[in-house]
């Protein structure tokens, strides 16, 4: 094959394949209807219990519950720190995949489900990919499980539609190691509702709690003679009226109250009625 043929065929094939390129169309961001919101209150959230040390991958997708937050309705995941943890190191990552990423928001709540703190996107750092990790937003925080046992992660409405330009990994490498700078276009990631996140949790100190010494005692109050009389009379009347069903249910109630001779009154009335 001559050089010219190679040049021409390569050139043609390149430009043919270039013509097949497609544009990505950005969908308008519609707010989520309030009718889809799962709960009226944080206390009604379903909380995912966490261990003392754990790495979790999770998705924010259409299967995630929807909650109402100050910055709009959003898909979320709610977590509960382990009762054994006190000081906890938390690393939250949101992975940048295929031009999109969740700009996450982390809010921490106390035992009464009141918001104690909430994160801002500026607190997240962009960590470029390595051999084992993708480019991601990352936030490292330390929580006190005794003060904030609950936290919620959601994709805030206020960030939706915005985007971030991240240095191309080949450029990062070139800058770090003084390599030849590559001619590459830096990828842009749009903030979307759905995405993949990871949570790495490490308990730094444990929480101890006292075991209560108070034993639970059943307090039985004496039944008033008037009540006893009422039940005995009512049972007898019911049997006399041949309403055995009513008599049985009255007997059950009387037993529950601890009226000992209700049963003998029932039997006596039954025997009398047969006479």
């Amino acid at each position: 094959m001559s050089t010219k043929t190679v040049f021409i065929s390569l050139f043609i094939s390149i430009f043919l394949s270039a013509c097949t390129s497609t544009e990505t169309i950005n969908q308008p961001v519609e707010p989520i209807s309030s009718a889809k919101v799962c709960c009226d209150d944080f206390s009604q959230f379903r909380w995912i219990p966490l261990s003392t040390t754990e790495d979790i991958d999770f998705l924010l997708d259409s299967d995630s519950p929807i909650g109402h937050f100050s910055d709009g309705n959003s898909y979320f995941n709610a977590f509960k720190l382990s009762g054994r943890s006190q000081k906890v190191q938390l690393s939250l990552s949101s992975l940048m995949i295929n031009s999109s990423v969740v700009a996450p928001k982390l809010i921490t709540l106390n035992k009464e489900f009141e918001i104690v703190s909430s994160s801002d996107l500026e607190q997240f750092t962009v960590k470029t990919s390595s051999a084992f990790s993708r480019t991601q937003f990352q936030l490292n925080v330390e929580l006190d499980a005794t003060k904030t046992p609950y936290f919620v992660i959601y994709s805030s409405d206020s960030y939706l539609g915005q985007s971030i330009k991240v240095k191309h990994p080949a450029r990062v490498r070139a800058e770090e190691f003084g390599e030849v700078m590559p001619i590459v276009t830096d990828p842009i990631y749009t903030y979307e509702r759905f995405g993949r996140l990871t949570l790495a949790l490490k308990t730094l100190s444990l929480q101890a709690s006292k075991i209560s010494e108070k034993s639970v005692q059943v307090v039985t109050k004496p039944v008033q003679p008037e009540t006893q009389n009422f039940y005995k009379t009512a049972i007898t009347t019911a049997i006399n009226n041949s309403d055995i069903q009513k008599a049985l249910s009255l007997l059950e109630e009387a037993k529950g109250l601890g009226i000992k001779d209700a049963e003998s009154a029932f039997i006596k009335a039954l025997e009398n009625s047969k006479k």
């Binding site: 909650g67 109402h68 937050f69 703190s117 801002d120 993708r134 925080v141 490498r173 700078m181 990631y189």
Partner: protein, 447 residues
């Protein structure tokens, strides 16, 4: 992000602000407290507690499959001498691993440990699987860098860091020639800090010559090279920032044993347009004749060696899809350079690049290189004295999306190299005539 005292201070301030502003939520609604949004609290712990710790693995591989008339080749067509700018470089099976351990402590102290190993850089044979490489090449598994850097020590100041080990320090390379023109490559130690808001540092780097290393340890005196580096980076110059480098070099056990090199680098936009450029001028004398600031085992030279170096390269962002890389480099003797009297080299190169889609980029490269010297330099006479080389290349880079962790790229290319005469062509390794066409596939992966 390196954790320093400022970060901690910022966290402490935000925590304090928060604790003053946070109110108990009493409403049933799930609203975030207005005006009291605060950072998730970072608890104050022991200063020596580790905030962040972990290993990172990075790497790179380059497999360049080059053929000329059914033959694999060793020549790089003068790429290293600024004669061509195409993709036709060496390395058939170059693999590189970088291990990085970064640790941050609550008191702001941080450390980095970096190991960079490489195999196969410069290999030009096409190897089979029996593992015969070791017999017929100089390349082997090599440690390119291994060093530790420690910073944030309170008694040195939060912006100060110290390092020691083997590395190539403060390195820069031309974008199309691919040639490293600035570095201090060897074993050494240094300190870096901020002076008037700009990065300033001092380093001592030593390197033994390839000759001494290959002769073995019991062969007499070594001609060890040493460079004393002073640098001051990031000085605002309005149109960009300036980097200053000064290097004093010495060589042991040689008669003419010293040299001096200096460079000024301007980092700015693409000559006023969208993009970036790096423009530098460097002067080198004696031991520092190689572009003044390019120190390594290759350094050395007598007192007649004196050179000037100018380079300007960068990338112009034309549109969303079009980019163009360009380079102009001039490297010449003020007296002698690499023992050649009046040696002059320069290259002009451009590489327009079109991003067809996320997975395909087309690259076109054109370069013109020139070399000349005084009659008889390196024994050259007649047509050999002057070379003018034209190089054109067409390439298509097939790649996966940039966020994919592996980022492999396969780039088929055709490179055409044409010399002004047969003598110049022979210097490049062209066997017949004045031109050559190289067909190749360059595979790269960054991870």
């Amino acid at each position: 992000m390196k954790m320093n005292k400022y970060n901690l201070l910022a966290m402490a301030v935000s925590t304090a602000l928060f604790s003053g502003a946070a109110l108990a939520e009493t409403d049933v609604a799930l609203d975030v407290i207005t005006g009291g949004e605060a950072a998730p609290k970072v608890e104050k712990t022991n200063g020596t507690d580790v905030l962040k710790d972990g290993w990172e693995v990075h790497g790179y591989a380059s497999m360049n499959f080059r053929m000329v008339d059914g033959e694999s080749i060793d020549t790089e067509y003068g790429k290293r001498d600024y004669k061509t700018a195409g993709t036709h470089g060496k390395s058939t099976n170059q693999v590189e691993f970088v291990l990085k351990k970064h640790t941050e402590h609550v008191n702001g102290v941080w450390s980095d440990f970096i190991v960079r190993t490489e195999y196969g850089n410069g290999n030009s044979y096409a190897y089979s699987s029996p593992g015969s490489q070791k017999d017929n090449t100089d390349a082997q598994l090599e440690v390119k860098e291994t060093f530790v850097e420690i910073g944030g020590l309170s008694y040195l100041g939060e912006d100060t860091s110290i390092w020691a080990g083997q590395r190539y320090f403060n390195r820069s390379a031309g974008i199309l020639s691919g040639e490293f023109w600035k570095q201090s490559s060897g074993l050494g130690a240094g300190i870096q800090s901020k002076i008037a808001g700009n990065t300033a540092g001092f380093a001592i780097v030593t390197a033994d010559t390839d000759g001494d290393i290959n002769n073995g340890v019991n062969t007499g005196e070594r001609t060890t090279l040493t460079s004393y580096d002073l640098y001051y980076y990031g000085v605002d110059a309005g149109i960009g920032s300036l980097d200053f480098d000064l290097k004093f070099m010495q060589q042991a056990n040689v008669d003419e044993d010293s040299g001096f090199g200096a460079s000024v680098t301007l980092n700015s936009s693409y000559y006023g347009l969208d993009g970036w450029t790096q423009t530098a001028i460097a002067y080198g004398k004696g031991t520092a004749q190689n572009r003044g600031v390019n120190f390594g085992s290759w350094s050395g030279g007598d007192d007649n060696a004196e050179s000037i170096f100018f380079t300007s390269y960068g990338v112009l962002n034309i549109s969303e899809r079009w980019q163009m890389g360009s380079e102009f480099t001039y490297f010449a003797a003020l007296n002698e350079l690499f023992t050649a009297k009046d040696l002059v080299r320069y290259i002009v190169a451009v590489r327009p690049s079109y991003k067809a889609n996320e997975n395909l980029r087309l690259e076109m490269t054109a370069s013109y290189g020139h070399e000349e010297g005084a009659e008889g330099y390196w024994g050259r006479t007649g047509d050999d004295i002057e070379s003018n080389i034209f190089n054109a290349e067409l390439a298509a880079a097939f790649t996966v999306n940039a966020d994919y962790f592996g980022r492999p790229q396969i780039k088929p290319y055709v490179s055409y190299i044409s010399a002004d005469d047969e003598a110049s062509a022979r210097q490049l390794g062209i066997k017949d005539g004045t031109s050559e066409t190289v067909i190749g596939v360059h595979t790269e992966i960054w991870f």
